[in-house]
């Protein structure tokens, strides 16, 4: 009885999850009972209102003390609030930019928004969970929704194939993750991450081999979701086959959620048991950056180039993981927020070219884009500069913080390699910028049709643009929030 009242009180702590779930169910019920504006017209509206409300509810959560909810299942702390905010911003922008794209792909159905909300709810659950059962459940909640989202344009062969690949490899890696969890449980006798941390810190682990073996398998499972080389092989294929808004969503959301759990499991717990983790992460960071950047050089499809660039960015983020300091972890949170804005912005422009202008996503489609659509062309240039890491954009500050954390920890060579990689990356971003400002022959240009609903796409782009620029010009407030979030 008293426990029940406690649970009702605890529900305030995961209000964003509940709001997303409720709005998803409203759309689902609405479309079952009535047409509910068939073609998903109301679906997108309800989804948008739901995710904005969830973002606003974070204000309530921010006032709460650091608190464990539901008998040690979930936690409410600054770390999770920062990441939940990042995920919700990503969801809002994705809903905005998908409105038109999904219509063109022939999948403008309410279920699309329902799945988007449910996967977003799963990610929120994942960053808030501190029990291994919840971590696994949350991982599967958002993964299952994303498997379907990748294949939602089911009449397209390429999309079906992408979802099959993602499903098989995702389930395969989830099995590794689960098997790793069993051995962590075997070594510690508990599934509570805080208790595991205490046991490791007190040196009361009887069987260190179990813990190392389990930790390695968990690393495999999470590295797959974050797309760390050598677990990245699915990334370009799935990113190319998926509908473009979903590609953007995966690049940002899945990565942020998996990194949150990665930091929770490794950052404060398992890193302490063996010094060799740092060497392993060093190698992973270097090969991830290098493979991502070098493969991106030879791509002709912009979507595929952005897929490889997302692998490279995972490598940059891993530089801070190697550093292993609170400064570095704060840098990771900041990097994820900036990456959300700049990456969603870049994908938003790709969606504009693909769906609103009716072109393909290869470099040729962008020829002369800067003259035909000067404002959106300029936006793309800013997003690419940010991805490259040039000031005065957010990408520069994020890279600066992440790299300087590694310098402070004494990994000079790692930073040298990272900077060389950034220089390589500049080549393929600049190539796209040059293409945008190359005059195209007038013959093959498609006529500009009046576009219905492109206003939503523009709002999404504006949000991304403002985020990218503000985090580049006046980053201190947000940077401080990120730093405070990790100093537990």
């Amino acid at each position: 009885m008293i426990l029940g009242i406690q649970y009702i009180k605890d529900s305030v702590g995961f209000l964003p999850f509940l709001i997303l779930l409720a709005s998803g169910l409203i759309i689902l019920m609405g479309s079952a009972v009535s047409g509910f504006g068939d073609k998903g017209r109301y679906g997108s509206g309800v989804a948008l209102i739901g995710s904005v409300l969830a973002l606003l509810s974070l204000y309530v959560l921010y006032g709460l003390k650091r608190n464990v909810l539901f008998n040690g299942m979930l936690i409410i702390d600054k770390f999770s609030i920062f990441l939940v905010a990042t995920l919700l911003i990503a969801t809002i922008v994705v809903i905005l930019i998908s409105r038109n794209a999904i219509a063109k792909e022939g999948a403008e159905i309410n279920e699309y928004y329902v799945l988007l909300l449910f996967s977003s709810a799963g990610m929120i659950l994942m960053v808030q969970s501190i029990n291994l059962i919840m971590v696994f459940l949350a991982l599967e909640i958002f993964s299952l929704a994303v498997y379907v989202l990748v294949g939602i344009t089911k009449q397209k062969k390429i999309s079906t194939e992408a979802s099959l690949k993602y499903l098989l490899l995702g389930a395969f890696s989830a099995a590794f993750f689960l098997y790793g969890l069993t051995y962590i449980y075997g070594a510690t006798g508990t599934l509570d991450l805080q208790k595991i941390t205490n046991l490791v810190a007190a040196g009361e682990i009887t069987n260190r081999f179990y813990l190392l073996f389990g930790g390695t398998l968990v690393l495999f499972g999470l590295a797959f979701k974050i797309a760390i080389v050598p677990f990245h092989m699915w990334t370009p294929d799935v990113y190319e086959g998926a509908p473009t808004p979903i590609t953007a969503y995966m690049a940002v959301g899945v990565k942020a959620a998996a990194l949150a759990v990665f930091l929770r499991i490794f950052g404060h717990t398992l890193l302490k048991i063996s010094i060799n983790w740092h060497t392993l992460f060093w190698v992973l960071a270097v090969i991830t950056m290098s493979v991502g950047n070098i493969c991106a050089l030879r791509q002709d499809s912009v979507k595929r180039m952005l897929a490889y660039s997302s692998i490279a960015h995972a490598g940059y983020i891993f530089v801070a993981v190697v550093a292993g300091s609170n400064y570095g972890y704060g840098g990771i949170l900041f990097y994820l927020l900036v990456y959300t804005f700049m990456n969603l912005g870049a994908f938003g422009v790709v969606i504009y070219v693909e769906n609103l202008l009716g072109l393909k996503d290869d470099y040729d489609s962008f020829k002369g884009f800067g003259f035909r659509k000067p404002i959106i062309g300029l936006c793309m240039v800013i997003f690419l500069c940010s991805l490259m890491g040039l000031p005065p954009t957010g990408g520069f500050i994020a890279k600066f913080v992440v790299f300087s954390s590694a310098v402070k920890a004494g990994y000079i060579w790692l930073v040298v390699i990272a900077v060389i990689n950034s220089a390589i990356a500049a080549y393929y971003y600049l190539r796209l910028i040059i293409t945008i400002y190359t005059r195209a022959e007038e013959t093959n240009t498609v006529e500009d049709r009046p576009i219905e609903g492109s206003i939503y796409n523009s709002i999404g782009l504006i949000i991304s643009l403002i985020g990218t620029l503000i985090l580049g010009i006046i980053p201190y407030g947000v940077l401080q929030l990120a730093m405070r979030a990790v100093s537990l």
Partner: protein, 100 residues
């Protein structure tokens, strides 16, 4: 009482059979079945550890894993049916449009 290691070795063998199945077989249904085998070997490990540690958390986890496995099958089979509609085959080799 059967020692803990016997269970761990058995579940390790099952897990390895699952990995080999995923890597070696070309039929998507068999691949899916192998993944289920991997999940079940993890269940076996959980129950074994739970029994030997005298702690029920692991056995609770197994119920959740079963539910998740069922949900995964629902989504997976739907995607495989969709693949069959396109290719009139469920062989993983037919999914070859996307290459780097």
């Amino acid at each position: 009482m059967i020692p803990l290691n016997y269970y761990l070795i058995l579940s390790g063998i099952l897990f390895t059979i699952g990995i080999i199945g995923v890597l070696y077989r070309r039929n998507t249904l068999i691949i899916f079945m192998s993944i289920e085998l991997m999940l079940n070997s993890a269940n076996l490990t959980f129950v074994a550890f739970s029994r030997f540690l005298g702690n029920l958390d692991g056995q609770i986890f197994v119920f959740f894993v079963m539910v998740v496995a069922a949900a995964e099958v629902v989504v997976g089979l739907a995607i495989i049916v969709n693949l069959y509609r396109h290719h009139k085959s469920i062989s993983a080799d037919r999914a070859n449009l996307l290459k780097w």
